[in-house]
């Protein structure tokens, strides 16, 4: 009898332990602090921890040709009417003292990205080399990161129906190539590289010229640095509307969100 009992209790305990360990294993693989790609330590998720990738925009060399805008769309298959990078075109001053001003913009790959901390699914994160990326197989499209970005540099990709943005072309960078926008930049205004490499051009530029970032007061610590950024362009960002929008309005081009016509502020 006691033998039977001990066999029964052995079986019971054995099943119990098996069930518990099975449950633990399932929940360990199902629940993640991060996301499966990062947990597996895949290169495209983690990046090179010895690097600190940044971009320098030398505005003295930008001619507003939008070659970067086009190259980015082709390289990253960005849907129609959506952009990961673009060049804002402005007119500064009044005739005859007038000149064109350009402001190339893209995701700032912030050191302290406000989009990452609010992501409820862990789909967006910063790699160890500083590049902020989105895993479009995880993102559920809640849009909190779009709201949290102070630079409006995220959008809902109409093909993948997830949050999307510039990823510094990591698919190229990880192969030792340059981002598409940098490679195509005719004036050499876009410079990309590793800040930790003292022989790199970005290191040289950042230590030779005075640079600034967009909206430093937001505390995001952007890693896209500008040489020769005129504060007049910065002020423009928060003020007038563009001639482009007026034309769109005039032509009756309608979108769910469109520019509203207001008087000059």
């Amino acid at each position: 009898m006691s033998e039977k009992n001990s066999r029964r209790s052995f079986l019971r305990q054995g099943f119990g332990i098996a069930a518990l360990s099975g449950l633990a294993a399932t929940s360990a693989s199902a629940l993640s602090l991060q996301n499966p790609g990062r947990d597996a330590g895949e290169m495209r998720y983690v990046g090179d921890k010895n690097k600190h990738l940044v971009m320098v925009m030398d505005l003295r060399k930008c001619i507003g040709c939008q070659a970067c805008t086009a190259a980015c769309k082709v390289e990253n298959k960005v849907p129609t009417s959506q952009y990961r990078t673009f060049v804002l075109e402005t007119e500064i001053g009044e005739f005859p003292d007038v000149r064109k001003g350009f402001l190339p913009q893209l995701c700032n790959h912030c050191d302290n990205p406000s989009c990452v901390s609010v992501c409820p699914t862990g789909a967006t994160f910063k790699r160890k080399d500083g590049v902020v990326v989105v895993d479009n197989t995880i993102c559920w499209g809640c849009g909190y990161c779009l709201s949290a970005c102070p630079y409006d540099k995220r959008y809902f990709n109409t093909k993948t129906k997830t949050a999307d943005k510039c990823n510094f072309c990591v698919q190229r960078v990880d192969q030792g190539l340059l981002p598409a926008c940098v490679e195509t930049c005719v004036g050499g205004a876009r410079v990309f590289g590793d800040m930790n490499d003292k022989t790199s051009e970005v290191y040289h530029l950042l230590h030779t010229f005075s640079t600034t970032v967009l909206k430093p007061e937001q505390g995001n610590k952007p890693q896209v640095f500008y040489i020769g950024l005129d504060n007049k362009i910065n002020e423009l960002l928060n003020s007038t509307q563009s001639l482009d929008d007026m034309v769109k309005k005039h032509d009756g081009i309608h979108a769910e969100w469109s520019k509203t016509l207001i008087k000059e502020m």
Partner: protein, 389 residues
């Protein structure tokens, strides 16, 4: 003069579903607080509508998250929320907010079945078959009808109510928190946002009860008429909550505009753009007028009070709209304010909102058929009359 020649129109994430969701959770929290006036604080004058308010809090909160799911671009990936990204628990209000959002209706449901247990037991005696078993399940197997059992129902109901009050405040407070933490948005970024949302929620929730209670008292109870005292009590509450709401809005707007840093220029521009809508519709018509009705003898006129209730409900919905949609219309890095016109069909569209309200109405009917709220309401009124004598 400097001019912008070309830029792109930024992509804006949140549509009409989001203000509607905020309205639903807010009104739910308020209905729960009003039910707790009786269940937790023992204020007898609210006893007849306490059970009904609790059920309204439940249905509003069951219907509310559907707005969120509809606003997702990938609604099929809801499970990803529960499986990944837990390292952001402390920094993403959406992460912990959804946990609160799930716990809160469960708690209300249990409070409701404890409060209505004696009525379920009575109802069981008149039923047989599946309905009998169904109500048997709702009693959680407690069939006793002694004073001791009633005391236990009351005790557990009160305990759940006590836990529920902070939970209700958190469930709606977190929606304000979600917006308040976004430092990229000049209109949203204030620590007052959760409190502001709670204050306006109390207005919309009370307004909602003023609108819905008369319909059910008149047409679905044996009383056959609207209880005047209850309506007057609700009118006074409405006026009081509007005062609190206005005070907090005063603090918000003064700190956001005259006494703010660089952000004030954008906030000024925003209110300049929407000046007439905000001042005349949102403030004067939908807050000041209902407040005057609530504080004056006008509240004794049922039609006037009912209209004031409707106005306050609409006003808070407009406030949610102006905050969520308006905040997103402010330019961040491409100049010019944006204008939003929701699609008629598609996700987060006008049809989504009507569908959501349809679901709410269906849920109200469903829950009110199951719960013997009318019996409880009539009994509470008759007890009050007897007590008064």
């Amino acid at each position: 003069m400097n001019t912008l020649i070309s830029s792109i129109t930024p992509n804006i994430p949140w549509g009409i579903d989001v203000p509607n969701y905020f309205w639903f959770t807010g009104s739910s929290a308020a209905a729960f607080i009003i039910s707790s006036f009786a269940h937790v604080f023992g204020m007898e004058r609210y006893k007849p509508i306490a059970g009904f308010s609790l059920l309204m809090a439940f249905v509003l909160l069951v219907a509310a998250p559907l707005n969120l799911i509809d606003d997702l671009k990938q609604p099929g990936r809801v499970l990803n929320f529960f499986m990944y990204g837990w390292e952001n628990f402390g920094t993403s209000p959406m992460k912990w907010g959804v946990i609160l959002l799930m716990a809160y209706p469960v708690l209300i449901f249990f409070e409701a079945i404890y409060i209505y247990r004696p009525y379920f037991v009575k109802k069981m005696a008149t039923l047989s078959g599946v309905s009998h078993t169904f109500y048997g399940l709702l009693t959680l197997g407690r069939m006793g009808m002694s004073q001791e059992d009633f005391d236990k129902d009351h005790r557990v109901g009160k305990l759940l109510g006590i836990i529920g009050i902070p939970l209700a405040l958190c469930v709606h407070g977190y929606t304000g928190y979600i917006l308040g933490v976004v430092h990229a948005n000049a209109l949203w970024h204030t620590p007052l946002m959760p409190i502001l949302f709670l204050a306006s929620a109390m207005v919309s929730g009370t307004g909602f009860l003023i609108v819905i209670i008369p319909i059910f008292q008149k047409f679905f109870t044996s009383m056959g008429s609207v209880n005047h005292d209850t309506m007057v009590d609700l009118a006074k509450l409405l006026a009081l909550f509007i005062v609190i709401d206005l005070v907090i809005r005063f603090l918000w707007l003064t700190f956001a505009m005259p006494f703010n840093g660089e952000e004030k220029y954008l906030v000024y521009a925003f209110f300049e753009l929407n000046f007439h809508e905000v001042l005349y519709v949102e403030y004067l018509l939908c807050l000041i007028i209902p407040m005057i009705v609530g504080f004056s003898a006008l509240r004794n006129n049922f039609i006037v009070l009912y209209c004031a209730g409707i106005l306050s409900v609409v006003g808070v919905w407009l406030f949610r709209w102006n905050t969520v949609i308006g905040g997103q219309s402010i330019p961040k890095s491409a100049p010019g304010f944006l204008h939003y016109s929701p699609d008629i069909f598609s996700q987060s569209s006008i049809v989504s909102i009507f569908s959501n309200w349809g679901i709410l109405i269906a849920l109200v009917c469903f829950i009110l058929v199951i719960f013997p709220w009318d019996e409880e309401m009539v009994e509470s009124y008759s007890k009050r009359v007897n007590h008064g004598k």
